[in-house]
Point group: C2
Chain length 357, copies 2
């Protein structure tokens, strides 16, 4: 049965998106209202503001600003791994409700210039995180260099993932935004404390799609068809090891046009994130990568939030539900705020709808 | 000795650029004057206008329009391989001075929608070309499909090159704008009737460079560092099998901004093409891919025109000379015409200069 019949009217728990960029200021005001449009009531908020969030107090002040925009969302906060973070900072942050710490290798993506050059100095921090149950979120790319390009940066990072896991087997680690078959396999080879997030857009894209389209260009970049199909299959494998983290990354239109010669990396999926996942599975069925039978209600519920909530140990006390509708909606052309304009992924294309129950 | 000392003041024959896009109308008027700025007096003109040039009369009418802009340039004309081209058309075109025929696989680049789906129907055309000494110029990429992406499109085309060469060993074939180590090796493995052109920009670029920079995005896309280094070494191998074809491809700024979601493929190098080649070798020396000693006057003269003229059987009766200068020039920010604006490759960066003697 086509998904449009099978899931039209399906009721699911509100989605949880375990990797979002909500920015600050005018962009935050434009973006936060789109969280619920995308079917989510829980978001795991990235700390790469300018300057990055390296203390619990900064993260909590940011959380307060987010709550001013929409207090109905459960914002899960992270810190930015940085030399100022000590084991004492970790434990203090944990006590104040900070959930994890995100590591960016220096220079690989938007606002990562304060990132990590080597993991070894952070071993005491990882020990403290392991002890107090904080999650380590890894941007899994090596910085480009002699033989490292944006195409093999993730595959070259995987030995680091495995060695961190071997050294800290009780540390919960998320390999964020997996884009390659290699990454999927590496996460599978690790123990249950290592999981991977998958974005909505990487379920759609290959390299050809972003090469000439700034609104599909993100880091890590989408790779080959075989990589995309590995992601689709991982999203549906039902093991709980892979779940949604959209990496929705809004940039003002001016930063996407490449007028200065540089296009900002990031795809904006927040307003349709649940809907896009449904559409991606439909496209994969058309490509004959999966069949309708592979997309069950249980797996959908898991990928869209259940698996992630379980890994992070979060319960959704709101018990909010969304209803999926296969209707006639099309993706809005533009989202606007106060002097900010953001073009969403797949603008103008047809999409599933969601209703809040 | 650094190239800046070794070649400052060096006198060379005017360069020949064996792959240029000069467009038509206002863009042509903006671009043709830049041919001499780039040190060239001979250009091999691509036929992918809209509609494409599929007859000698159209190509000669275009040549007349080009000569109106600058009669001092030797414009070598090609036709666009198309079902309307018969053996009789080939022979008639040759008699009228048309030099070659360019084949575009359907859909791979700018204005290639009328391109070739299969080579077999053109075997009689290739036989006629072989007989009358016309050159076949191949855009060597397979159209993207199931497992073909813009990254492996060229490598996947190479068996086609080899089988065409095996079937038509006397047909002169140019594999245009080689971008991979694989392509260089394939050209080397073929007999002397198969050569390859190399652009100036592919001597500089890898995938990371164009991913976020529309002004470095072209088809075929720049690949890995190892590919770039293979191109640099091929350009300097002194065999005569590889020579300059810049594929300079101007697009109006509006088509590069991706405002509609699509960025036009093409890098504009025409005004500095000789200068850029010098700079590329300097950068390769810095990367320790080659040494100063690898860049000799003889090889430079060959790559910049001598090898190509020899392959095409062209003599430069003008005997014009250029002089290289390592000065303080920077690449202009913008080239403008009547309602057209083109941003050149490496705008604002320092460059060699040339003077006409």
């Amino acid at each position: 049965m086509p998904l449009s019949s099978k899931f039209n009217g399906l009721e699911l728990p509100a989605s949880a998106d375990f990797h979002v960029h909500l920015r600050d200021g005018a962009m935050m005001k434009a973006v936060v209202p789109t969280i619920r449009s995308g079917g989510c009531n829980t978001v795991y908020v990235m700390p790469n503001l300018i300057p990055p969030l390296t203390s619990a107090s900064d993260a909590l002040a940011y959380k307060a600003r987010l709550r001013e925009q929409d207090p109905s969302i459960n914002y899960l906060m992270t810190l930015y791994l940085h030399e100022s973070i000590s084991p004492a900072v970790v434990k203090g942050a944990r006590a104040q409700g900070i959930v994890g710490i995100k590591s960016y290798p220096a220079g690989v993506t938007t606002n990562s210039s304060s990132g990590v050059l080597s993991y070894e100095p952070f071993y005491p921090v990882f020990t403290a995180m392991e002890q107090c149950g904080m999650v380590l979120n890894l941007h899994g790319e090596c910085p480009s260099g002699k033989d490292i390009t944006i195409l093999n940066a993730e595959s070259n990072f995987l030995p680091t993932l495995k060695s961190l896991h071997a050294r800290f087997p009780k540390l919960k680690i998320v390999l964020e935004h997996c884009t390659t078959k290699d990454a999927i396999e590496a996460v599978r080879e690790c123990g249950p404390n290592v999981v991977g997030t998958i974005t909505a857009h990487h379920l759609y894209l290959i390299v050809d799609d972003w090469a000439d389209n700034p609104f599909s260009y993100c880091k890590p970049v989408a790779k080959n068809p075989s990589d995309r199909e590995a992601l689709v299959k991982a999203a549906l494998d039902g093991t709980g090891k892979f779940f949604l983290g959209s990496d929705s990354a809004p940039h003002d239109l001016s930063a996407k046009k490449g007028g200065t010669g540089k296009v900002a990396a990031g795809v904006f999926t927040q307003p349709y994130v649940t809907q896009l996942v449904l559409g991606a599975f439909e496209e994969a069925i058309k490509r004959e990568v999966i069949t309708e039978a592979d997309v069950t209600k249980e797996i959908l519920e898991g990928f869209l939030g259940g698996y992630g909530r379980k890994f992070y140990g979060i319960t959704d006390s709101s018990n909010e539900k969304i209803v999926l509708r296969k209707g006639v909606e099309v993706v809005q052309e533009l989202f606007e705020g106060d002097r900010v304009q953001v073009i969403p992924f797949r603008k103008g294309q047809s999409t599933w709808s969601i209703e809040w129950k």
